[in-house]
Symmetry: C3
Subunit: 352 residues, 3 copies
């Protein structure tokens, strides 16, 4: 139970209405129950202020006048809501201590207050900092290090020689430090794998979703800077470098040697893969399902995906697309004929 | 060993040929061995009736006359084959009981006839119904519930507060209830994760493939209705709602807050991701690798992917595509010139 | 420590410079440290020969003259580097033996020199050949077989009746032998799963990345021939057949019943999915994010993805794309008018 006064205090806001009112949960404007705190962060949902069953709402000054229920006025309602919702997050944590079924190599350094769950394996020369949580079945390879308060969820596999910073979260079934996909052909035409001896270096406050794959560098390292956020099923090839505060949405993937600047946002299923290394400037946003094959040097929004349409229209247009160059040539021919006519006309006019 | 009489009985069909013939396995028309039952469900393979080594075939009335081997005539040979093939499915099951290495919280309710394998972890307040199978290394988070006869394959991670219905199958390495990808920016430009406190609710008879990721709701719940079938590597963002009997093929993905109606079919690698919530009507089929960014309100078939072609043609056409708007403007200019000529002609004609 | 003489011997090369010089590590041209061996395999990086801190470099005859540091001259520097880099690969191996927490069915045949880690499960009638490595938490289903010296990384799930050849590597969280996605509709409109009773057969020297999913055959088998290399997050549907020496890059996926010839290269996120089975000839290369819906019968390079551009240009052109067929009709109308004019001109000329 939190009073509105307390909520205002924690979110640097002020209460409009009775400060002593208490909330016991959180909910969306549409589905909140009595006792819930909700928030209005998008004017699209503004009309719902009048129908919500929530007991109180976080909002900005802009919407106070029209709000029929008690409110806490803040500068960023979404951020304030995030702060308060944490109190109602029912996620379980592994208890502090080391589960007896965990297998910790004697050479590993284990910090204070760690939470190490059943069947966890920590290999030789690892460094597990204070407050780290390793959930059930997590495997940490030799010489790897995990920073303070980082939480690694169930069944995550961290290969050897991987560094992860502080306060990161890694979701279930993610693999970090996988051998990069380096293949060459020998004189008999047989594909040979090139040993991948680089590392993975991950900064602080990084989020990795579930079933993410991050390859280790071929020779140099794969690097993910501070505060990067990767959604589920993202793939990072070997020797990629991701600038700080960069976001990749679900199923996006980078081939090897891609560099992303700071504050990039890659939409869902975006792919970056060129003939050689590809470099994308900071502040670039890329629309869902776009393929990027060449450098982007200027910040801004970029896209490449086609728009859906009904199947008949689509089929007709796509067949045309495969003759587009010919179509343009036909257009040019038409233009030339007309140019000639015009110049003839002009000539004949001037001849008169 | 099954007699054709028995097969006909179980599939509501009738035998053409000797009812006492027995089959000892199943096979495709092309590769069946003597003793196998096969089926003809697609007229494309009809000629193979004459070359198959199968001992008997499930088919419809339509193909009886031309069939040189004993047959069982049914209304839906594929469905009938599915029914019989079950008998020859060699998949192992975890034995009934709880493996001594499984870790079951004392507050969890465990039904009768459950099959709980090695190293399984079931957390506080879980409800595991009768006949549930939890294979090796499965983790079930606190307050989650799994319905009767549902089978969860190896290394699946179910987070807290997830409800799964009866008779579902969840394949290996899938994660359910992962934190949704909710990110906001604070006043310092740092990305902050918004706590994801909604649940995941999954109906009865749902199939989830391997390496599927299903995010929990941000505040409200992510909902998957009865009889939904998701292929491997599908991704479901937070607060999605999938209508009953809907299919998503391999690698398809939904961003947050996507609603799919009933009986939709999304092809492989389809993506649905808009600026805001996207809603797709029931009965919509979407072609492979299509991106959907806006609502689809009418049932029907939709596509958006481009067609492949040889690299030279492709490069030429794609460069043209990026000047298509200019091309249309050139066309319009040409049309205007011609219109003017025509009206001049008309004028000069009428002037005569 | 390796002398250049030794390196030259192992790579069938010859030393230019002091044969007694020793190297103690490997590095890229750009980031090598003193003591490292590097390689020049791409003329793009040629200028770095003059700035590298490496102690020696693998290169071809072509670059010897300009190289200021000791070198080993070989025919394929990348391949030679791969050979030597293996010595500096710090990856840990599970020790020889069977971990006491591993669960091996008494009917399984276990070869000599196997390395079986913690919590591994090997089911009935499996055959684990000499020198196989099964890392922590690996599950192997009944009747499956794994060939000599194959290494299966952490948390991989191998279903029943899967055959894997010799010297393969399977990375973390991959699932092999998952039920194919075979769905049919019964008379009530309910989706029914068709039992998947085929197997998965994988040849020798195959590489599977992390979070790969390989479905078992519906009736016949899914087959992956020798020396195939699959990157992370690749998906293989039921009854696919992959020819020897074929490569699929990250996130590429095949629907059911796709056949790839030998020496194909599928770029990242390529999808192959047709109405029926799709067959792709040997020697076909497909550009990233291309969708292939029909057979490709000739070797060569194919693509289909659109190119990215800035958002405004993109939106304008994509809207035009959805009216392309109409545009072509307008062009044809223009052409007809001009043809008529020309033939009129000709007529009137000839009439004169």
């Amino acid at each position: 139970m939190l009073s509105l006064a307390e909520i205002a205090h924690r979110t640097q806001g002020h209460v409009v209405g009775d400060e002593q009112i208490c909330i016991s949960g959180v909910g969306s404007l549409a589905n909140a129950k009595t006792g819930d705190l909700t928030h209005l962060s998008n004017q699209r949902y503004r009309a719902q202020l009048h129908t919500t069953k929530a007991t109180a709402v976080l909002l900005t000054e802009e919407n106070v006048a029209e709000c029929p229920i008690p409110s806490v006025v803040v500068s960023n309602p979404q951020l304030a809501f995030a702060e308060i919702a944490n109190d109602f997050d029912k996620r379980e944590r592994i208890p502090v201590g080391i589960d007896p079924t965990a297998r910790i190599d004697s050479s590993a350094q284990i910090g204070d207050g760690v939470r190490i769950g059943p069947n966890v394996r920590v290999s030789a020369d690892c460094v597990i900092a204070d407050g780290v949580e390793l959930c059930t079945n997590v495997c940490v390879g030799a010489q790897s290090a995990i920073g303070r308060e980082t939480s690694i969820r169930e069944n995550v596999v961290i290969y050897h020689d991987v560094q992860i910073g502080a306060r990161c979260t890694v979701h279930a079934n993610t693999a970090i430090g996988v051998d990069g996909f380096g293949i060459t052909v020998d004189e008999t035409g047989t594909l040979q794998e090139i040993p991948q001896v680089g590392r993975v270096l991950i900064g602080d406050d990084v989020l990795l979703g579930a079933s993410v794959t991050i390859d280790r560098g071929a020779i140099d390292d794969t690097v993910i800077h501070d505060n990067v956020k990767l959604d589920d099923q993202v793939h990072i090839g070997h020797n990629c470098v991701l600038g700080a505060h960069t976001i990749m949405c679900g199923c996006a993937g980078l081939a090897g040697s891609v560099t992303l600047g700071e504050y990039c946002v890659l939409g869902g299923s975006v792919g970056v893969a060129g003939e050689g290394p590809v470099s994308i400037a900071g502040g670039v946003e890329i629309g869902a399902m776009t393929l990027v094959t060449r450098d982007i040097t200027e910040p801004g929004r970029y896209s490449g995906a086609t728009l859906h349409t009904d199947n008949r229209t689509w089929r007709r247009n796509m067949l045309r697309l495969n003759e587009l160059d010919t179509i343009v040539k036909r257009l040019r021919r038409v233009e030339r004929i007309l140019e000639k006519q015009t110049s003839n006309d002009v000539n004949s006019s001037s001849a008169k």
